[in-house]
């Protein structure tokens, strides 16, 4: 037994000295558990979902819905936009649609002037949306319906009353109420006038929210949501189009991390020394590595997108030039990430371990696996610092929205900017390091 214990101790010592292995064993699962836990536990419900909003109705219920949405932490209501003159302007129907089409928000709720009038038997709302992410859209609609439903009991009562009056006539309806009040008065010894007052009060605003929540299922008939998809209606394979970018970028990062860290193997084997004993400079080696990785990344991404075209009929050719630009920018940024690892790590094992951790984390927080809006707010801020976020969003804009060059410039700019900054840091580090 002592021998076995000694052997076990030996393995623990070796394991502890293998920092990448320790990191992959503990750090990666801890981070991923935290991220997934934040999403799927109660405390991690989405916050601050951007929802464009117009309220043109004077109805009390419209005001209540607006207040409820305004005070809700789930939604961030956007009621104005900045026009071409740089002025803040309240949305109208056209501008709110344009707002969605431009990808500034995924959905808009419009309460029209005739949403609920004196003669309405149901509440009529308009909902414009861009289902670039299916999960996001389902969650927005679910949360929105829930919020509205908790605020419209008066609509339910009024609707029922008006339907009854429409069926029986005003006089018969009133008599029906009086007879009901009389029966209740007789059995419960309550004043008829008080009962009638209560019924009248109930017709307006006074049903408590608990009652209304219990009645939630009945409300679907009185809430008429006129939904209109503004973007991606012509996309041939929506689900595949949405997901291809995220997965492609994740595997791109894995590939380019591996090839960038090949510098370690070449350095260790002496091949770098042999190359540098020929008329080749260090700068030329770095450039060759960088351009090789970018070209390999481009080839990999193109193959993956082309496979998406063959297998899922993803339309990659309708906006092909912009897709190529995004592919180049994503490859450049991902290569820079790989080179940064090579510059800062001391061994290939360390670089690959850290690379695996960072790629998985960036994929989780950057939107490669699920939409970023369901993450806690501070992680959403972090996600915007990742290559994955800008690449995934950029590919969506090209493939889903069909955006042109000007519209994808922010995404190209962010990726090229990340690549430039990271490359400068890597170069600085390479000059001080021992790998070359």
């Amino acid at each position: 037994m002592k021998t076995i214990l000694k052997l076990i101790k030996k393995d623990y010592i070796l394991f502890w000295h293998d920092k990448p292995a320790v990191g992959l064993t503990f750090l990666v699962p801890i981070v991923l558990i935290y991220i997934f836990g934040s999403i799927f536990s109660g405390g991690g419900s989405p916050q601050g979902i951007r929802l464009a909003f117009i309220n043109s109705s004077n109805a009390t219920v419209a005001k209540k819905i607006e207040t409820a949405l305004d005070t809700s932490s789930t939604f961030q209501l956007i009621k104005t936009y900045t026009n071409d003159q740089g002025k803040k302007v309240t949305f109208d129907t056209n501008s709110v649609k344009d707002f969605i089409r431009r990808g500034n928000a995924s959905a808009a709720l419009v309460i029209p002037a005739d949403a609920f009038t004196d003669t309405s038997t149901s509440l009529r709302l308009k909902f414009y949306y861009d289902p670039k992410n299916n999960i996001e859209m389902q969650m927005i609609q679910g949360l929105l319906t829930q919020t509205i439903m908790t605020e419209i009991p008066s609509v339910f009562i009024s609707s029922m009353q008006r339907k009854a009056e429409g069926y029986l006539g005003m006089e018969k309806g009133s008599n029906f109420n009086k007879q009901i009040a009389s029966v209740i008065s007789k059995y419960y010894k309550v004043d008829t006038a008080e009962i009638l007052h209560g019924m009248q009060f109930a017709y307006t605003d006074s049903v408590d929210s608990d009652t209304s929540r219990k009645a939630g299922n009945f409300f679907s008939n009185i809430l008429q949501m006129d939904k209109k998809q503004l973007v991606g209606a012509n996309v041939t394979s929506p689900d595949a189009t949405r997901s291809v970018g995220g997965w492609a970028v994740m595997f791109l990062l894995f590939t380019l991390t591996g090839t960038s860290t090949s510098l370690f193997d070449e350095s260790k084997s002496g091949v770098i020394l042999r190359i540098l004993s020929s008329p080749i400079s260090r700068v030329q080696i770095l450039w060759s590595k960088y351009l090789y990785n970018i070209s390999l990344g481009c080839i990999q991404l193109f193959v993956l997108f082309f496979l998406g075209y063959l297998l899922f009929n993803i339309n990659i050719f309708s906006n092909f030039l912009n897709l190529v630009l995004m592919i180049i920018a994503a490859s450049a940024a991902s290569t820079a990430f790989g080179m940064l690892l090579a510059a800062f790590c001391k061994t290939a094992a360390q670089a690959n371990g850290l690379g695996t951790f960072l790629v998985l984390t960036m994929s989780a927080v950057g939107g490669a696996w699920f939409p970023t809006f369901i993450l806690p707010p501070f992680i959403q801020v972090i996600s915007k610092l990742t290559i994955v976020y800008w690449a995934v969003e950029g590919f969506l804009k090209v493939l889903w929205n069909g955006y042109g060059f000007i519209d994808i410039l922010p995404y190209l700019g962010a990726l090229i900017g990340i690549a430039a900054v990271v490359n400068l840091v890597s170069l600085w580090k390479f000059k001080r390091g021992t790998i070359l």
Partner: protein
């Protein structure tokens, strides 16, 4: 002509080379002998322009070697200490890749590669992946990869590490042949036998300093004795170490004693004493002193320490 002038190279707190100067003649097979960590590889890295010196300069035919001077590297072929090859590629692919760095034309390169593979007797295995080769075959290919551009100067940084005797002899023969063809060769090693066998002139380096330089015979003449006596260890000789010490300094080796005789020793007296003590002649061997002994004499340390 290679001129190494007052070179100093430091790494953080370690002085790898401390103000060393050497002149190496054209067509010379020059040996740089020293223990591990003496500064041999640092000097090789400076000679090939991989690193720059902190002080001093190295000139090849009057032209300075540096990281920035890429063209001068065409004159130099480096045989690295490590097996600087791509294991997953074939021998031919390796040589074609390394040859391409010297801008050799495609057709010429094919012929050069075939020629070098023939030279190191690997032509029949040219399509095989390097990872299937033995250590000796890899070493031979490592040498061939350094000769593709027909360099004037060949820098061999311990090119026989971990090689079987047969491959080691083969490498020696290639190098001797190359030297006969007019190539200047600088050969670093910590194996004194290699330096003794190959090199016409030797520099001994230790702790970053050149201790001595010269022709082998001249260097050995610096010793105060012209012979060294080896006595095999056995039951009897192990009891008589006190006796041996009366004739000189004793070095305790693994299976023998090495006796460095005093100036006054007469071999006839030594053998008479051995006979008197019952030690037979088969246990005794007389040899010329080696570089190992010279190193010990100069540094007070064994080469392998």
């Amino acid at each position: 002509m290679i001129s190494i002038k007052n070179i100093t190279k430091k790494f953080t707190n370690i002085t790898a080379l401390d103000n060393i100067s050497l002149e190496i003649n054209e067509k010379e097979l020059f040996g740089l002998l020293g223990p591990n960590g003496a500064g041999k590889s640092t000097l090789m890295n400076l000679l090939v322009g991989y690193i720059n010196a902190d002080e001093g300069e190295i000139l090849i035919d009057g032209e300075k070697i540096s990281i920035e001077n890429l063209d001068i590297r065409r004159k130099i072929g480096l045989v690295p200490q490590t097996l600087a090859l791509y294991d997953d590629l074939s021998a031919q692919d390796n040589l074609e890749i390394f040859g391409s760095f010297f801008n050799i034309k495609k057709n010429t390169l094919k012929n050069v590669v075939a020629d070098k593979l023939n030279m190191v007797q690997l032509y029949d295995r040219k399509k095989d992946k390097v990872k299937t080769f033995s250590g000796g075959m890899k070493r031979r290919l490592n040498l061939a990869a350094s000769l593709l551009h027909d360099p004037q100067i060949i820098l061999c940084d311990e090119p026989t590490v971990g090689v079987d005797p047969q491959s080691r002899n083969a490498i020696f023969e290639y190098l001797i042949k190359l030297n006969e063809q007019g190539k200047t060769i600088i050969y670093t090693t910590h194996y004194m036998e290699e330096a003794e066998r190959l090199c016409s002139r030797i520099a001994i380096i230790d702790f970053g300093k050149i201790i001595t330089t010269g022709v082998l015979e001249t260097l050995l003449g610096e010793l105060h004795y012209s012979q060294t006596i080896l006595i095999n260890k056995n039951h009897l000789t192990e009891k008589k170490t006190g006796l041996f010490q009366t004739f000189g300094e004793i070095i305790n080796e693994q299976d023998k004693y090495e006796l460095k005789p005093t100036n006054k020793l007469k071999l006839s007296d030594f053998f008479a004493s051995m006979e008197e003590n019952g030690i037979n002649y088969e246990s005794i061997e007389i040899k010329k002193p080696s570089l190992e002994a010279l190193f010990l004499h100069l540094t007070g340390r064994r080469l392998r320490d």
